[in-house]
Symmetry: C2
Subunit: 374 residues, 2 copies
Amino acid sequence: MTQPPPAEIGDDIADIDTPALIVDLDAFEANVAKMAENVKEFGLRLRAHSKTHKCSEIARRQVAAGAIGVCCQKVGEAEDMVAGGVQDVYVSNEVWGAKKLARLAELAKTATISICVDDAQNVGDLGTAARAAGVTLNVYVEIDVGAGRCGVNPGEDGAELAAVVVAEEGLNFAGLQAYQGSAQHIRTINERGAAIGNACDNVKLTLDALAARGIQADTVTGAGTGSFRFEANSGLYHELQCGSYIFMDADYAQNQGMDGGAFDEFRHSLYVLATVMSATKPGGGIVDAGHKALGNDQGMPWVADIPGATYERPSDDHGKINTTEAAREAVLGEKIRLIPGHCDPTVNLYDWYVVVQEGRVVDLWEIGARGATR
Amino acid sequence: MTQPPPAEIGDDIADIDTPALIVDLDAFEANVAKMAENVKEFGLRLRAHSKTHKCSEIARRQVAAGAIGVCCQKVGEAEDMVAGGVQDVYVSNEVWGAKKLARLAELAKTATISICVDDAQNVGDLGTAARAAGVTLNVYVEIDVGAGRCGVNPGEDGAELAAVVVAEEGLNFAGLQAYQGSAQHIRTINERGAAIGNACDNVKLTLDALAARGIQADTVTGAGTGSFRFEANSGLYHELQCGSYIFMDADYAQNQGMDGGAFDEFRHSLYVLATVMSATKPGGGIVDAGHKALGNDQGMPWVADIPGATYERPSDDHGKINTTEAAREAVLGEKIRLIPGHCDPTVNLYDWYVVVQEGRVVDLWEIGARGATR
């Protein structure tokens, strides 16, 4: 069921079988270093989001560059990260079900494990699981800071749930989860800033309500690649949860940067390599990468290797490269790089990163949490 | 990297961990039997499309019900099918690259292997691979019958390429690949019929051009779940390539049937089981299944277990169940079944089918070709 790697170390890029997921090592390392530098300048902590990469090799590199650990969305991802040597893992998501909570508590025997909640019954379930395993779980209360997804209302509701956590044996109230996910892809910097400004107001409201109860929130955690400078500058956040910065997909690249110009402080480092396997009509070709090789939910991939070409009409195993406005035609049999529209669901389709540098395959990294949706 | 099964045989449905891919065995078996019966009535052959299920257990059941074998889109899928005991496998797609063609030829040592082409150079590459392995490959010439994707022009171009195949040592010209993929989801029966009528005209044109050259096309192969009765009734097709009929996703269910009414000759048999893991606001809940658990490229899943509810706003690991127009609220912690919008890319996200009957898990089927995109 696990697919074999599409290349061997030492291969030329042209020898990689397709479709394959490629990491440009130089761009990747520059991105890891850039974010580490940013967070250091802010005087904050980076808890890199591993839902983007699902790969403990990448997590270890982020930690080596200064991240305090990772966050993830699923217990299965946390298990892979702990197995891969990451010592501090936060499931920044609500988890229901006795089996999953038992697995989570088991992990806390060998690593520092945190989780977030937005419901009192769930707090009780977590306490039961922690006590059964003889461990302590760090628990963040998630407040809805504008995304309209998970999380209790900011202010009094958040403080009330925190009090429930404080009272539950086996749990340690760690602070607030305050991630504004729907703000990450707002294109203009002013509107994005306004959305995070609103999120910060809601954090402040909740911190005040906590203070009124005498409850200390050691950590406020949140922020993504699209917004992190706003949270960092708010003076309210302690940890940043950026994930996509390591790869920079086509969606994020359409955001305005902080200065109103291009969002170019991170480089594209993730590609899907595809082969042109049919070209019977002028103005384009068909590649061997469709919905099963690309996450297209936030828009189509960009065609990196044919300037002016577009990718369109994906089906399960095909996509059309339209070259009617492009610098050149697509050549039958050639391999071209696509920049995924959305990195996270694209990565989840593959078992291996093929790591390239100076035209050669220099490493193969297992995507150990591929498919770890539970 | 392969995920463990989300349940054990004998479990109650309520004990299945989520997200999980569920097959309703009774509905599945009824679908397999219904299509076998249809094809028998037509006096044609069924070559079931395994790109839908990626599972040799399912392929074997289709063959046991009368299918002559399977088709698939990728060499990796073909390898899984042959390893799983399927003796007649057709890669109904163009394949480029010496490594892939060598793998394909290797398979022909133990099974009957066919492939399709739309380019003369590719025919030469296939011949080279076949001769190197000491095997014969059956080759179909793909003609573009209206989908505008792969395939040569019908008529003279198709016949010319067939002549190239006939002349190539190691290859056996098997006939025409004539699949109108873009017609499958045309909603009204009249428009769909017109599209297949046009495809049939193009098949006829090509058969005439072949006859003029004295080339016999033993088999014309094509058709899908949305259109198969039209191809069957044309008198031109010998093999039908239907795949989705075994599962019936939400997209196909929106097609008109042959009589202009509901397309209900097949039943929904595939579900994603998801847990409501947050419900902090009235009018809905958040489930633990997003883009990494559902193929949403042809529309959102349907909520099977809450009449009137809709699934919306998917993100990587979440989806919102909107119950504002529904019969009831979503209950925190409950597990609900979703009918995928598009079965093929949904299946490709999972390692296991959890097979259920009368409320219990009765089997676990490996999705051996999950991720086999090469």
